[in-house]
Structures are given as structure tokens and as C-alpha cells.
Symmetry: C3
Subunit: 207 residues, 3 copies
């Protein structure tokens, strides 16, 4: 599906920019910016492919990911003062990115004959672990562990995908519906500041 | 060996609880707690399997690990205020866990025709690196580098295993004796606050 | 090529010492020192081999790496008060290390029929990621992202290698010339305090 590939590249572009911005913020040099952009954009898929033994792994098998990351870093350097004005566009690309990464990761897992639960996890790893690796390399506690509905959106979209897949719905339709679920949850969560529940600390000491 | 599988699952359960407790303490959301519990419980074996190219890796090849981790997280949420009263039971499960993880990792290494030294390292990786990954993801210096006799207990048990294996002792007996060595060293070390020697800092500047 | 193997081992020795010194500085126990020395010395090649599916990976396939790391840790313990007087020798070994690691990594990538750009990246991963893993495990922002010309030296040497390789220059000559490029850039950079450009922070807020 040509369109999905385009969306995958768009998502890679958005993820790479978000990584590059974090690295600029940390005052990394050019090389550091490239690495963080790279890890953010393809780290999730790379981890997935290593775990399921899918060689060549994502960015080794398709150089377009590398070129996209290069382009994203150059774009960030040139337009970084304007990227804040583009925040809605960036949010859109980013949200498209996580939905496409989730569903492509899930599909790859299924195509490797993994159990649906494992394939679902692989979808989430694809979408989420680029950001985790970025945070580990920049010495922060991964954002996703603390206040993101991000992962839940991926999970919900993945589950919808698996259910529709069981019902033999056509592939394209499954993909579109599941992607809409991911995007909708993400947009609604950000709009209304939804978060996953936290287990209160005082339950520990009292109770 | 049925019993060893049960002990492996018990150890996974204990490791997952210890990971979940760290994540609760860091105020992670539910998703973050699941990931840290997961990484603590199966991270060591996962790293081992990736390094020795043993696919499907541990938790992909056997879903019981995932179910055990889920159960451990639910258990932690329900009984977290009482887990402190269970600290002796937890310590027992945890200690069983490291002994079984070490020896199963070592056996897996040998079954892949690795050099005994490499197999020994794989046993230690299995037992120890779940905790290292947990600490990296929660942005702490891995505990094990600073004050744990943990790894030495695994090392000693692994060496005993290899020696008895050379002497053609029966498999079951080797496993029991080596496990007892790991458990005994761990218990004695904790009881008497033993630590590995540290090279004093002032040796650097003076001397 | 015998000589290159000797240089590879020398580089491993130097990297292991640099890792051990960081770990001593952090007051890790003996086990922690061994792990950090190990990761610094063979972490880059290990990551490369996992990514390109080259099994057995570096230190599993050749025990000499392990023995070298052991020797380096013992050497560091015995002579740590004198290593500072050896700083020029250490710098020489370290610089030889990064040049040899880069070129051997690149060659390994090419021998696996990877695209030259990917092979170039694999050379840099081999030389640089041991240090990145060391910094992640000791809870620091990887040095290389902030102020090192290190990676650029590897990159330049790798590019020279690929160009000469296209021109069908003899293998030995390619290796020597490329290694000299890496070493020269590194030495000049350290001598004249050269750094990669940083994108100024105020470009973000103003401009």
C-alpha cells in the first residue's frame, strides 16, 4: 500500500524532528543531534526487528529512513525558530506516525506468525520505544512512563485491528479504522488532558 | 524438569513485583509500571537470547512469562500495602529467582555449544540484567554496580555447576547443589552485610 | 592481517582501562568495574553484530576479548595511580583503538553486503557506542553527544576508506591511509580543542 508507506515516512520525519529538537535543547553538537533524531525515529522499529529476528532490520533494509532523518535534521536546523508555529502540523504528523508505526509493527508481528498478544506488543514497541531510547540517551526518565496516554492509544488501536482481523474485514478498511482509533484517542486525550490512573502514593504507607 | 519451570515462574513473579514496586515509587502510570515490571522480570533472559541468537526469545516463545508479569502487577496493586509484611517471602522468591535464572541461563548457553566461560556469563546476564535495565529506565545507576553481592552469588553457583558438570554428576543433583550455593551465599551476604571489595578512592590521588 | 588483530586487542585494552577508570571513579565494586570495562571495550562491536545479525557476536566468537578486558582491569587496579603518568600512551592506544574499531566495523559491514552508507555507520557504531553504553550505565549524558570530535574523525576515516575502496587500491594501503586519517584528525582536534559546531540556543527563542 503506497499511501501507508508515505505515512510511515511522514511519521519518521515528525519523530526525527521531535528528537532533533530535544537534542538541540540539550546543546548537543551536530553529531549528537543526528543520533538522537535517528534513535527517536527508527529506534522502536529497530528494537522490534532485533527482538523478532527480522533481518535486515528496518533502517538497514530501507535507506529511505536514513534519508528522511537527514532531511528532518536539516529542516530542523533551517526552520527551528518556526517549528513552534508549525506545532499543529507537527502534532498531526506525530500522531499519524504513532498510528502507522503501531499498525505496521503489529502487521509485521503477525506476518512472522507471532501470537496476537506478542504482535500487539510489537506494534506498541514500534511506536513507543523510539521515544524511550531518546529519553534514556538524554538521561531522562522516559516521558511515557509518567504521563502519556500515547501508549494506551496505540494499545486500543491495535486491539481494534486484531478484532477486525478476526472478523475477516478487508485489510485496507481494518487499517483505516484502527488508525482512526489511535488518532482519535490521542487527539481527545491531549485536548482534555486525560491520563492513565496513577496508584496513589499514600496507599503505600497507610491503608 | 517440571519443578524448575515452576521455580522459574515463581522467580519471574518475584522479579516483576520488585520492578512494579520501584515503578510505583517513581509515580509511574499503569503503563509505566507494566513496562518496568516486564523489563525487570524478563530483561535479563531477553538480552541473553538476543546475544546468543536464541529465537524466539524467552517471553516471545512462552506466553506464561507475560501472564505471570500481569498477575504480579495486579497482585502488587491489590496488596502493595501488605507486601512489606511479606518481605521475607519476597526475599525467598527473589533468591530462588536469581539461582534458577542463573542456572537456566548457563544451561541454555551450554546447549548452544558456547564456551563454558561464555555460558557462565550468560547465566549471570540472565539473573542480573533485568535489574540493570530497570535501573537504566528509571534513571538510576544500576544498584548492582555499587553494593550487591548478588552477582558474586550467581558467579559462584555457576562455577560449581560447571565443575560438577565436568565430573559427570547427574543433572538434577548438579542443579540442586548449585542452586543451594547461590541461595546460601545470597542469604549469608544479606545477613552479614557482606560486600565485594571496593578499590579505595584515595589510592588514586595519593600512593 | 596479524598486525590489525594486535591493534584491535591493544584498542580493546585501552578502552577497557578507560571504562574501568570511570567505574572506579564512581566507586563501583569489583563486579561493576568489570562490567563497565567490558561494555566500554566491546559494547560497540556487540551492538553492531546484533544489528547486522553477525553471530557469534564479537566477544562470544573470540575469547581473547574477554581475556584482554580481564587483564586491563587487573592492570588498572595494580597501576591506577600511575596511569595518569601514562596518559600519553593511553591516548595513543585509545586513538589506535577508535581507528581500528571503525575500519574493522566498516569492513565487517561490507563483507555482509551492506550498503556502503550502512557499513560506514556500522564502523562508527563499533568505535563510538562502547562509550555511549558506558555513559548510559553510569547515568551520564553520553560525552560524545556534547563535545567530541571523536565521531567526526571516525566518519572522515571511513569515508576515505570507502573512496579508496572504490578506486581498487590494495587493502593494506587503504587500511593504513584511513587509519592515519582517523588518528590525525583526533590528535589535531584534541591539540587545538576543535569541536563540531553547536546550534546556538538563542536562535530558538529569537531570530
Amino acid at each position: 500500500m503506497e499511501l501507508i508507506y508515505v505515512l510511515d515516512i511522514l511519521g519518521t520525519f515528525a519523530f526525527a524532528i521531535s528528537g532533533a529538537l530535544v537534542a538541540f535543547d540539550k546543546k548537543f553538537d551536530l553529531f549528537g543531534v543526528l543520533i538522537i533524531a535517528f534513535v527517536t525515529a527508527v529506534g522502536g522499529g529497530m528494537l522490534r526487528d532485533v527482538l523478532i529476528d527480522a533481518h535486515p532490520i528496518n533502517w538497514i533494509g530501507d535507506l529511505n529512513y536514513l534519508y528522511t532523518i537527514f532531511a528532518a535534521v536539516i529542516f530542523t536546523i533551517l526552520f527551528k525558530s518556526k517549528i513552534f508555529y508549525l506545532s499543529k502540523t507537527m502534532f498531526l504528523f506525530d500522531t499519524i506516525g504513532i498510528s502507522v508505526f503501531t499498525l505496521l509493527g503489529l502487521e509485521k508481528g503477525l506476518s512472522f506468525n507471532l501470537h496476537p498478544i506478542i504482535a500487539l506488543i510489537m506494534g506498541m514497541v514500534s511506536a513507543v520505544f523510539g521515544g524511550v531510547l531518546r529519553d534514556v540517551l538524554t538521561n531522562k526518565i522516559p516521558l511515557i512512563f509518567e504521563k502519556e496516554i500515547y501508549a494506551s492509544a496505540c494499545l486500543a488501536g491495535g486491539i481494534v485491528y486484531l478484532i477486525l482481523n478476526e472478523c475477516n474485514v478487508a485489510d485496507n478498511i481494518i487499517f483505516v479504522i484502527s488508525a482512526v482509533v489511535v488518532i482519535a484517542i490521542r487527539v481527545i486525550a491531549v485536548k482534555f488532558h486525560l491520563q492513565l490512573p496513577k496508584i496513589k502514593d499514600d496507599l503505600f504507607t497507610k491503608n
